[in-house]
Symmetry: C2
Subunit: 245 residues, 2 copies
């Protein structure tokens, strides 16, 4: 195989890998792959398109931020029918806070898609939230509002958004589960261990068992987060028993 | 006809009028009429629904604001392919400014739908923009994102949004038209007159003729606005000739 053919083949392989990983992340088949590539391109690459416009994720970030804001707004509107305008505004700010979006971007391990001329660890923590937003913008351009909404429900709302916790009514699900087990004289076990697999960022897994039965699992970028996630799942699994106790 | 039947008939007539006027405004058939009624209900009426939640436009305003923001964002993203994130953010702020939305609400004469316990003229100028937003929120809940988008294109973007003007490149279309006519030695006439019809708020109409031929009309709540609107139409009608001169 000559040199050019080797390069062409390796590009095709890279594209195929990108497509497959993206599809797994999105839970649908992306169409306009170039938009997703743009969503992960850092401006340090100084790419421009044939019209002379810069190709990087910054404009998509603007678009994704707006889409995210409207989808979270409509979720909150329906979810909290007695929330005032001020309450809804405040809850939305918490959900789309830079800190929260950075966490999300990290948990989804979006950084592995990023193309940059600067070492990724030197770009700063906001890159995680920024590329989460640019990905949302890309989904909107590729597939429209409803796919965008579905993605945000699957990746943001369902695993992360918890009105009671955001309101400060529940500060720790782990604490709540432990307290409940102690009251009910149940044995509980948090089996927490490092589980990074072949990812760049450390991950932890946890299995929570109650009276010797595994009730829920969690996995995240810190022990604390993994345990909270799993505890929240235990909470929802046993909600009836817990709230009636 | 007895008393009760008279009342029932008069309520039915009011509902029918509301539906018909709303349909004219929206350019489509609204389905969930109660949502639109809510969009025009001021909190001074102190209405609550059967779940005990307040019925007024404030929550819908939150929702509509978010929808408007995302629709304007996607419009700007596509319209200005070389605009940076900062530029897009700034342009959007101008378009959705309180001042701009109040103007819009006034021009659409939305105030006629408002139900309030306070005299409408005492609610303050922001009511105009607020109910414009709550109407957008109601459209979203009734018919979904695409109807919302269509409404905003028809009522906001197409008649009001003008990138060149927002950028400050064109400060007055009237000035531009007059200057061009003078250079080209053309006769121009702005025929401006009060034209409120049976509306509560004063309206003005204008017809602009060039060399004795009527080129465009405008109608708005002030002479200046009507003239700008009509001048802008002249500009777009004669754009080729004007920009080539």
């Amino acid at each position: 195989m000559n040199f050019i053919r080797k390069i062409v083949k390796s590009i095709a392989k890279e594209d195929e890998d990108f497509y497959n990983e993206l599809k797994k992340l999105l839970n649908f088949s992306p169409k306009k792959i170039d938009i997703y590539k743009k969503a992960f391109t850092h401006r340090s690459l100084k790419l421009i398109d044939k019209e002379g416009n810069p190709v990087n994720y910054e404009r998509l970030e603007f678009l994704g931020d707006a889409m995210l804001g409207s989808i979270i707004a409509s979720y909150l509107y329906k979810k909290v029918p007695n929330g005032t305008e001020g309450y809804l505004t405040q809850m939305r700010s918490k959900i789309v806070s830079r800190e929260h979006l950075n966490e999300l971007g990290k948990d989804l391990n979006l950084i592995k898609f990023v193309k940059s001329n600067i070492a990724k660890e030197n770009i700063g923590d906001n890159i995680y939230g920024n590329i989460f937003e640019s990905l949302v913008g890309a989904i909107y351009l590729d597939k429209g509002y409803n796919y965008c909404k579905k993605f945000i429900y699957e990746k943001v709302i369902s695993p992360y958004v918890d009105i009671a916790k955001l309101e400060g009514k529940i500060t720790s699900y782990k604490g709540l589960i432990i307290e409940w087990c102690q009251k009910q004289k149940k044995q509980y076990l948090f089996d927490t261990y490092e589980d990074s697999g072949n990812e760049n960022i450390k991950h932890f897994s946890v299995k929570i068992s109650i009276d010797g039965v595994m009730v829920a699992k969690g996995r995240a970028t810190s022990k604390k987060k993994a345990e909270e996630q799993a505890s929240k799942r235990v909470y929802f699994a046993l909600q009836k028993e817990i709230t009636n106790s």
